[in-house]
């Protein structure tokens, strides 16, 4: 079920009404049923996989919590992580690795064949597997208490607002709220509705409107002028941001209506002044996951510069592969890893605020850094969006022919203006619900117009890009 579908328009009020009327002890069973229904709407056959992942990590948590034997606890953790990775690997990466192996053997002059599986990728498997794994690791590290009841844990894994595309929650943050959610106050409803409205504006009115043009440009990358390709690169840069951050905003908004606060997943990433800062603001829940469960265990920055660079590159390459079973994602991750390494080498990457409003040079430097970071990210997105290297290289090659640059048109600039109109106030206030501070007579017509526009331009039910991961 999509947040931008009619089914969700019926589903959400139904869930809110049911949760509002059932006794407290029935709340989590209802929330769990809602999560399974929400997920089962795509393909009910994968509900078993969700349940399996839940059972594995809950059991692992219980076993580790009841034991003081370090070896035993480690063994349980290894089993739990292995089981999760086997599920993820089988459904998401089997064909990718088999195909890559065959390709490598052919390159070495050996004729081999590998079995290919015709399995459908379960939607959101990367998200809920990572969330479930983080629970087992946190329990092992004693960073979080194990869930007391299976029902609570199952609800935590299958919590529908963030089940299929995050934010990837930690048990320490979400589980206590599942066990005892906050009261839904008018304040929370205001916050929730504002976040949902912003999310739908980003998704329906911006991302979905760009999708067709972006698809066409990437489909014909080899035959287009530099201006058109540049437009395609810019538009995809905004599309993916509005699509994914729009989803996160809606997820957070819906969750507020349920009395549960989800973690922030996007914090105006295109206003970053370095790639280092970009990754503190983009898909923050995944960044934090990779940092805590991959980069730091690899040694982080504790073993000298070279090891730090290696760890950065490895983390980003695996982060790239997490997104999809395609080498283009690995290259995308590698590009970002390289950016981070170069920034470390050059000693840049820390945010520098102008000393005063009159510090013209400071402001100019800040703008230059922001624009440079934006363009580095936009360049890397070409590999992310291109279905294969042929398309990606044709796109980049065409981009640097510098032909018909005026064909870029005004649309990217209009979209940039629309995105900045949301991001700059949020960034300045450090508050995603900053628009709630506007007078009601400004908010009411603005939201009513937005709502009307969403009604008119919505209905296409364009899937969220990150659902494929």
């Amino acid at each position: 079920m999509l947040f931008n579908s009619l089914a969700f328009l019926v589903f959400l009020p139904s869930v809110l009404i049911v949760l509002g009327v059932v006794p407290r002890r029935w709340r989590n069973p209802c929330l769990l049923a809602a999560g399974y229904f929400f997920y089962g709407c795509w393909d009910w056959r994968f509900l078993g996989l969700l349940a399996l992942s839940t059972v594995i990590d809950f059991s692992a948590g219980q076993l580790m919590a009841r034991s003081v034997d370090a070896q035993w606890r480690k063994l349980v953790l290894v089993c739990s992580i292995s089981a999760n990775l086997v599920i993820l690997g089988f459904f998401k990466y089997f064909n990718f690795f088999a195909d890559s192996f065959v390709g490598l053997m052919h390159w070495c002059g050996l004729q081999v064949s590998a079995p290919m599986l015709s399995v459908v990728l379960p939607v959101g498997i990367s998200f809920y597997t990572f969330q479930s794994m983080s629970y087992a690791i946190d329990v092992y590290r004693r960073a979080t208490k194990p869930a007391e009841h299976f029902l609570d844990y199952a609800t935590y894994v299958a919590y529908f607002p963030q089940l299929v595309a995050g934010p990837i929650e930690r048990a320490g943050h979400l589980l206590p709220q599942i066990v005892s959610p906050a009261r839904v106050t008018p304040e929370r409803i205001n916050i929730g509705l504002t976040l949902m409205m912003l999310g739908y504006i980003k998704k329906v009115l911006i991302a979905d409107q760009l999708a067709l043009q972006v698809d066409q440009i990437f489909a014909n990358a080899g035959h287009l002028s530099s201006g058109v390709l540049l437009r395609g690169a810019y538009l995809f840069t905004f599309q993916i941001y509005c699509d994914f951050s729009g989803y996160s905003d809606i997820a957070r908004g819906v969750s507020e209506l349920l009395g549960i606060r989800l973690r922030l997943n996007f914090n105006q990433p295109y206003l970053s002044q370095s790639i280092t800062e970009f990754w503190r603001r983009w898909h923050m829940s995944l960044s934090a996951w990779l940092r805590d469960y991959l980069y730091i265990p690899l040694g982080g920055n504790r073993h000298g510069a070279l090891m730090t660079y290696r760890n950065l590159m490895l983390t980003m390459l695996i982060g790239g592969l997490w997104h999809g079973a395609n080498w283009t994602f690995v290259v995308w991750g590698g590009l970002h890893g390289s950016y981070l390494v170069i920034e470390r080498l050059l000693g840049i990457g820390r945010r520098q605020a102008p000393s005063s409003p009159r510090d013209v040079a400071g402001w100019a430097w800040r703008i230059v850094c922001t624009l440079l970071t934006f363009h580095l990210a936009a360049f890397a997105w070409i590999f992310f969006r291109a279905p294969d290297f042929t398309t990606a290289f044709a796109f980049i090659s065409g981009l640097f022919h510098f032909t018909h640059l005026r064909a870029i048109g005004v649309v990217p600039f209009l979209v940039a203006a629309a995105v900045l109109a949301i991001d700059i106030p949020q960034n300045a206030a450090g508050d995603h619900t900053v628009f709630l501070r506007l007078p009601w007579w400004v908010q009411a017509p603005a939201y009513a117009t937005a709502c009307f526009a969403i009604l008119l331009w919505g209905g296409g039910e364009v899937p969220f890009i990150y659902f494929q991961f």
Partner: protein, 520 residues
């Protein structure tokens, strides 16, 4: 990712948490006033409900700014809405109905020709065209709308391509989804739909804002595009719409330079009367109509026009139709013309294009749908032959149509599926007292030669002949009446082809009206 920070610092208190706590605190501070809930969020559903309840009061009164051939679904619904208005007592209402091949029916031409032959009959001729609509869809439409649109005569224009749909029960094309009545569609096709599709139709049936959202979008977009153009060009500064050979376009203007009266001499071509039966000319100055002439005989005419106000600079003339030289003789002249003028304005008095009006499109103009590009360049037949063999989406689509039709020639004809639905439609219309004229639309000789003589196509025509057993039903076959140069592709005629077969349609309708008079 957050890998470039010192992990010791962030493990205890991550920047994520800091931002989150700040956001939450600030958000909570901003949202303290619970009254916001009522002031900001409550008006939204109220406003939407208000727009929903009053939808039919405002939306259909907003002019569609694009031609009939732009946004067919919108045009179809607009035409249906007009037909739902009460019919004047005693008026005979003729409705031509069908898929894109119905483009060969120009309702203004046919109406004018029938009206010229039967001046005593109060007559309305309408056309409801929706590309891709199948007989099964048409049946759903008429079952729900027949009583509301009150047709006396229905002209069902068909083509073989309309019937080549093996899975018609499951087929609900995007272009007909919101055009067909939602509840009836749900009832008829619900068993073959996904839950999402059913829900979509439930919403479409419950909310006009939802059902017609594409139309609203289209209208908003067109108005936004028009606004700057309209602001730039509202008034004509000189003569316009006159060709160097003296012929004028459908709208033209002549300088009068503040004169109190104007005398105009103009020629009504016999081809025009042959193609249209009768024409009406409206003369205006300063936005006021000063005279109107109805011409049903060709030849030179004169008119004396009192202009009343002496500061007017232009005499503007509007014709209700045009004629096409190429449709009447062998001349390679594809212009849409009206009268010919005896005296041309001086060259310096010409200012070019007609001023933009609101709405900018005159519905009586020949469809651009039937023109398909610049008709002046080269031989249409050659151009379209090359086009259909190309690698464009258009060519691929039309090659597929050809393959479908040619593949049908060796099949056994059974009157099931879409044929069964069509018979049901004809039977229901006949039972309700509606006169039905079935017309097999023209086919290009390029394709007809491949299957026209096949047993399947013979059985196809015999099927329609068989339907004349129902009361008030007649069948006419126009499949082989036009040469290839009168087509844009296999089965869509161009505007010359439409002009040429207009008299045939008029003749069929006149015959149906005569038969109807005899039986009623």
């Amino acid at each position: 990712m957050q890998v470039a920070v010192n992990e010791r610092a962030v493990v205890t208190h991550t920047p994520v948490d800091v931002v989150q706590e700040e956001s939450a605190a600030a958000g909570a501070g901003a949202a303290q006033d619970a009254s916001l809930l009522w002031k900001v969020w409550l008006p939204i559903p109220v406003l939407l409900l208000l727009l929903e309840l009053t939808f039919h009061l405002y939306f259909w009164n907003v002019p569609k700014l694009t031609g009939r051939s732009a946004d067919y679904g919108y045009q179809f619904l607009l035409d249906v809405h007009r037909l739902q208005q009460p019919k004047p007592p005693g008026t005979v209402r003729v409705v031509a109905f069908g898929s894109s091949v119905t483009g060969s029916f120009d309702q203004y031409q046919v109406g004018s020709l029938v009206g010229a032959h039967e001046p005593d009959v109060p007559l309305e001729v309408h056309r409801l065209l929706l590309p891709g609509i199948k007989p099964s869809d048409s049946r759903i439409f008429f079952a729900a709308q027949r009583e509301a649109i009150q047709p006396d005569v229905v002209v069902l224009i068909v083509n073989l391509v309309d019937f080549l749909n093996p899975s018609f029960e499951r087929d609900l094309k995007e272009q007909v989804r919101y055009v067909l009545p939602p509840w009836e569609t749900l009832r008829e096709r619900g068993a073959y739909m996904t839950l999402g599709s059913k829900l979509d139709l439930v919403f479409a049936g419950s909310s006009d804002l939802y059902r017609y959202r594409k139309l609203i979008r289209s209208s908003l977009r067109d108005h936004l595009k028009l606004l700057p153009r309209w602001l730039r060009s509202r008034a004509a500064r000189g003569a316009y719409g006159i060709y160097p050979d003296g012929y004028a376009a459908q709208r033209f203007a002549l300088p009068v330079d503040g004169a109190a009266t104007a005398d105009l001499e103009y020629y009504v071509a016999p081809e025009w009367i042959a193609q249209r039966g009768q024409v009406t000319l409206r003369f205006s100055a300063g936005g006021r109509v000063v005279a109107q002439r109805n011409e049903d005989q060709p030849g030179w005419k004169t008119i004396h026009l009192p202009l009343a106000l002496q500061h007017e600079r232009l005499l503007e003339v509007d014709a209700d139709s045009t004629w096409v030289p190429n449709a009447s003789d062998a001349r390679d002249d594809w212009r849409l013309l009206s009268v010919r003028l005896r005296q041309l304005p001086p060259r310096h008095a010409k200012a070019g294009a007609a001023p933009l009006r609101y709405p900018p499109v005159d519905e009586r103009q020949m469809d651009t749908f039937l023109r398909f590009g610049d008709p002046l360049a080269g031989s249409l037949a050659t151009r379209w032959a090359a086009m259909l063999q190309g690698d464009s989406e258009f060519a691929k689509r039309f090659r597929r149509y050809r393959e479908l039709k040619v593949a049908a020639r060796n099949q056994a004809f059974t009157a099931r599926g879409e044929y069964g639905e069509f018979e049901r439609l004809v039977r229901e219309l006949s039972t309700s007292g509606t006169t039905v004229v079935i017309v097999n639309s023209p086919e290009s000789p390029w394709i007809l030669k491949d299957y026209g003589d096949s047993p399947y196509y013979r059985a196809y025509r015999a099927f329609f002949e068989g339907l004349t057993r129902y009361s008030g039903v007649s069948f006419h076959d126009l499949s082989a009446v036009l040469p290839a140069e009168d087509f844009n592709d296999w089965h869509h005629v161009n505007y010359v082809g439409a002009v040429k077969i207009g008299p045939s349609y008029a003749q069929f309708i006149s015959a149906a009206l005569a038969a109807r008079r005899r039986t009623h």
